[in-house]
C-alpha cells in the first residue's frame, strides 16, 4: 500500500509537469490554432538556460532571468517565425514547430553537450512522512506549482479583461479583429505565456530528475495529455496530465519501465480511436 501511494505521489508530480507543458500547448492552440510541437524542447532549452543562469547569478536572480528568457523565447518565436506564416495553411505552422524542435535540440547539444546536469536550486522545506510514505518536498513543490499555475491562469483567462480578449480571439480571429481587438498581441501573449510555463516546468523537472538533452523524450507525453484532455480545453490539460502521470508511474512501478515509456503513445492511439476530440474538447462540425 505504501509503495502504491509512493507511486501515486510520483505520478502526480509528473502529472503536474505534464499539465504545465500541456497548458502551454493549449494556450497557443486556443488563440492561434497553431499546435506547438516544440513545447517539450522549449522546456529542455529553458532548463539548460536555468542551470547556466543560476550558476552565474545565484538562485533568485537566476530564476528571474530564466523566466525572462522564456518570455523572450516565446515572443521571438511568434514575431520571427509565426508571423511570416500568417495567411499560409496551418499545416505550415505545424511543420515549422516540428522543425523548430530539431533546431532547439541542436542548440542544446551545441551549448550544453550530451551529458546530464543537476539543477543547482535547493527548494526550501524537507520531505514529509505520511505513515510509511515518504514524499519528497520537491514533488510537493512541483504539484503545488502546477496547481497554482493552473489556478492563476484560469483566473487570468476567465476573470480579467485581457483574458476576455484572449477568449474572444480564440472564438474567431476575424470577428475579434473586426471588433478592434489586438489579435496579433494576443498571439504574442500566448507564446510568451507558453515560454514562461516551459521554463517553470523545466525548473521543477530539473530539480527532481536532472537536466539532459534527451529530456524531451519524456515530455512528448505532454502531446498525449493535450489530446487526452481535449486540444482546446484548459481543464483538460490538468485532468489529462494527472491521469497520464499516475498511469505512467503505476506502469513503471508494477509492470516495466520500458513499457512506461510507450504508455503515453498507447493512450494517444486509444484516445484517437475512441474519442478523438478528447475528454473535454469541443467537437467541431464541418460544413461544406
Amino acid at each position: 500500500m505504501a509503495i502504491f501511494l509512493q507511486f501515486i505521489a510520483g505520478g502526480l508530480f509528473f502529472g503536474g509537469m505534464y499539465t504545465l507543458i500541456a497548458l502551454g500547448i493549449v494556450i497557443i492552440y486556443k488563440s492561434t490554432r497553431v499546435f506547438n510541437f516544440a513545447q517539450g524542447w522549449m522546456v529542455t532549452l529553458g532548463a539548460f538556460m536555468l542551470v547556466t543562469l543560476v550558476e552565474k547569478l545565484g538562485v533568485v536572480a537566476g530564476v528571474i532571468a530564466g523566466l525572462a528568457f522564456g518570455a523572450l523565447l516565446g515572443l521571438g518565436i511568434d514575431r520571427l517565425l509565426m508571423r511570416p506564416l500568417i495567411g499560409q495553411p496551418l499545416v505550415a505552422a505545424l511543420l515549422l514547430t516540428i522543425m523548430l524542435a530539431e533546431v532547439f535540440e541542436g542548440i542544446n547539444i551545441l551549448a550544453w553537450g550530451t551529458f546530464g546536469y543537476d539543477m543547482p536550486v535547493q527548494l526550501p522545506g524537507a520531505s514529509i512522512k505520511l505513515g510509511e510514505v515518504v514524499i519528497s518536498h520537491a514533488l510537493l513543490w512541483g504539484i503545488g506549482v502546477a496547481l497554482v499555475g493552473f489556478a492563476a491562469f484560469s483566473f487570468f483567462y476567465w476573470r480579467t479583461p485581457i483574458g476576455r480578449v484572449m477568449r474572444a480571439t480564440a472564438e474567431d480571429h476575424q470577428v475579434a479583429q473586426g471588433l478592434g481587438l489586438p489579435v496579433r498581441g494576443v498571439f504574442s501573449l500566448s507564446w510568451v505565456l507558453a515560454g514562461l510555463l516551459s521554463v517553470i516546468a523545466g525548473l521543477f523537472l530539473g530539480v527532481v530528475s536532472g537536466v539532459h538533452y534527451l529530456m524531451y523524450g519524456a515530455l512528448l507525453g505532454a502531446l498525449a495529455v493535450v489530446l487526452l484532455g481535449g486540444l482546446d480545453s484548459i481543464a483538460g490539460a490538468i485532468v489529462g496530465g494527472m491521469i497520464l502521470g499516475v498511469v505512467q508511474s503505476l506502469v513503471t512501478g508494477y509492470l516495466s519501465p520500458a513499457l512506461a515509456d510507450v504508455v503515453p503513445f498507447i493512450v494517444l492511439l486509444l484516445i484517437l480511436i475512441i474519442k478523438p476530440y478528447g475528454l473535454f474538447g469541443l467537437v467541431r462540425i464541418e460544413r461544406l
Binding site: 506564416l85 505545424l94 511543420l95 533546431v103 489530446l227 498507447i266 484517437l272
Partner: protein
C-alpha cells in the same frame, strides 16, 4: 503544361506521355547512362553518398505519396522503414530466406503496419492523424527494442549478409550501388505514374477537400488507407535496402529525427511533386555531408574541447534551419524554383515567365 513551339499532340498517347520530345528523351537516357557509369569513376565516398541518397529517396517518395499527394502528415515514417528493415533482417537471419524474396515482403509488412496505424484516419485528419503517426514511431521502435529478443536481438542487433545473384557478389558497394539505384529509378517511375492515375487524382482530391471528394464519390477513408499502404510500402522497400546496406539492424538506427528529416526533404523539395522529392533528398543530404566535412575544421578553430559535439549539433541545426527558411520564404519548394527556371529558359530572351 508548357511545351516547346511546334510540338503538337495529335494522339492521346502523346498528350499523356511524360517524356514528350526528342531532347527530353536524350536527357533522360543520358541521365540514366550517367547513373549507370558513375561507379566506374566515382570514389568510394561518393558512392556511399549516392547509395544513402537512393535509399532515402525511396522512403521520401513514399512519404510524398502519403503526405504530399494524399495530405496525411506522417511524422513517424522512419518507423515504417524500420518495419521493412526488420522484416528483411529477421527473415534472412532466423529463417534463412533469400534477400530478393524478402524485399516484397518487407514492403508488404510495412504497408500492413501503415494501414494499422492509419486506421484512426477514418475519423481524423491533419494534426490528429500526425499524432497517430507519432505514436507509431515510438510504439514500433519500442516493440523492436523489447519484444521477441530471440528474433530481434535488440542489444546486439541483427547481422544481415549482402545478397548474391547470378554470380554477382553484392558485398562490394559498386555492385550494391546498382541494386539501390535500380530500385530508386524503378520506384520513381512507379510513383510518377501512380499519381497521374485514378488513384493519384483521388489522393489529391482527398488532400484538397475531403468533404467535396466524398460528395463526388470518392471513398475518403478507403483512399486514405490506400495512401498509407502505398506510402509505407515504399518505406518498407527502403528499409530492406537500409538493412542490407548497413549489414546490421538495431533499434537505434531508426530515430525520430530521421522521420522529421524525411518530412524536411519533402518541404525543401516541394510537397506533392515527385521531382521535389528528388531535389529535397539531394539538397538535404548534401547539407549533411557538407556539415560532416566542415564541422571538424570548425571545431578545431573555435574550441578543440567541444569539437566532437559540434558535428551532430550543427547537423541538426543546419538542416532544420534550412527547412524553416524554405517554409517561410519558398513554401512551394525547389520544385517550384525548377519550374520557374525551366520557364525562364523556354521564354528567353522574353521576360514573361510564370
Amino acid at each position: 503544361m508548357d511545351r516547346p513551339a511546334g510540338v503538337f499532340d495529335i494522339r492521346y498517347e502523346q498528350d499523356m506521355a511524360v517524356v514528350r520530345t526528342g531532347p527530353q528523351w536524350g536527357l533522360l537516357i543520358g541521365f540514366l547512362i550517367l547513373l549507370a557509369v558513375l561507379p566506374l569513376f566515382a570514389g568510394s565516398y561518393f558512392l556511399g553518398f549516392m547509395i544513402l541518397t537512393g535509399i532515402s529517396l525511396v522512403a521520401v517518395l513514399g512519404l510524398n505519396i502519403l503526405t504530399g499527394y494524399a495530405g496525411q502528415i506522417s511524422i513517424g515514417h522512419q518507423a515504417f522503414v524500420a518495419v521493412g528493415a526488420y522484416t528483411t533482417a529477421v527473415l534472412m537471419d532466423s529463417f534463412h530466406w533469400n534477400f530478393w524474396a524478402t524485399v516484397p515482403l518487407a514492403g508488404i509488412a510495412a504497408a500492413a503496419a501503415g494501414v494499422l496505424f492509419g486506421l484512426p484516419s477514418f475519423r481524423l485528419k491533419m494534426l490528429y492523424l500526425a499524432m497517430s503517426t507519432l505514436a507509431a514511431q515510438f510504439i514500433i521502435i519500442a516493440f523492436f527494442g523489447h519484444a521477441f529478443p530471440d528474433y530481434f536481438h535488440a542489444v546486439s542487433g541483427i547481422r544481415v549478409d549482402r545478397p548474391e545473384l547470378a554470380g554477382i557478389d553484392f558485398r562490394n558497394n559498386e555492385a550494391f550501388y546498382y541494386v539501390v539505384t535500380g530500385t530508386a529509378v524503378l520506384m520513381t517511375f512507379v510513383a510518377k505514374n501512380l499519381v497521374r492515375s485514378r488513384l493519384g487524382r483521388a489522393f489529391v482530391a482527398v488532400r484538397d477537400n475531403d468533404l467535396a471528394g466524398e460528395v463526388i464519390g470518392i471513398n475518403v477513408a478507403r483512399y486514405k488507407l490506400y495512401a498509407f499502404a502505398i506510402g509505407c510500402f515504399y518505406a518498407g522497400i527502403a528499409g530492406a535496402l537500409h538493412a542490407t546496406y548497413f549489414r546490421s539492424v538495431n533499434p537505434r538506427q531508426f530515430p525520430f529525427e530521421v522521420s522529421i528529416w524525411y518530412l524536411g526533404c519533402l518541404i525543401v523539395g516541394g510537397m506533392g511533386t515527385n521531382v521535389g522529392a528528388v531535389f529535397g533528398v539531394l539538397f538535404l543530404r548534401s547539407i549533411k555531408e557538407l556539415v560532416t566535412f566542415v564541422s571538424p575544421i570548425l571545431g578545431e578553430m573555435v574550441s578543440p574541447i567541444n569539437a566532437p559535439k559540434i558535428g551532430p549539433a550543427l547537423g541538426l541545426i543546419s538542416w532544420a534551419l534550412v527547412v524553416i527558411l524554405f517554409l517561410i520564404f519558398e513554401p512551394r519548394g525547389l520544385a517550384h524554383t525548377w519550374e520557374v527556371l525551366k520557364s525562364r529558359f523556354r521564354h528567353w530572351p522574353f521576360k514573361y515567365a510564370i
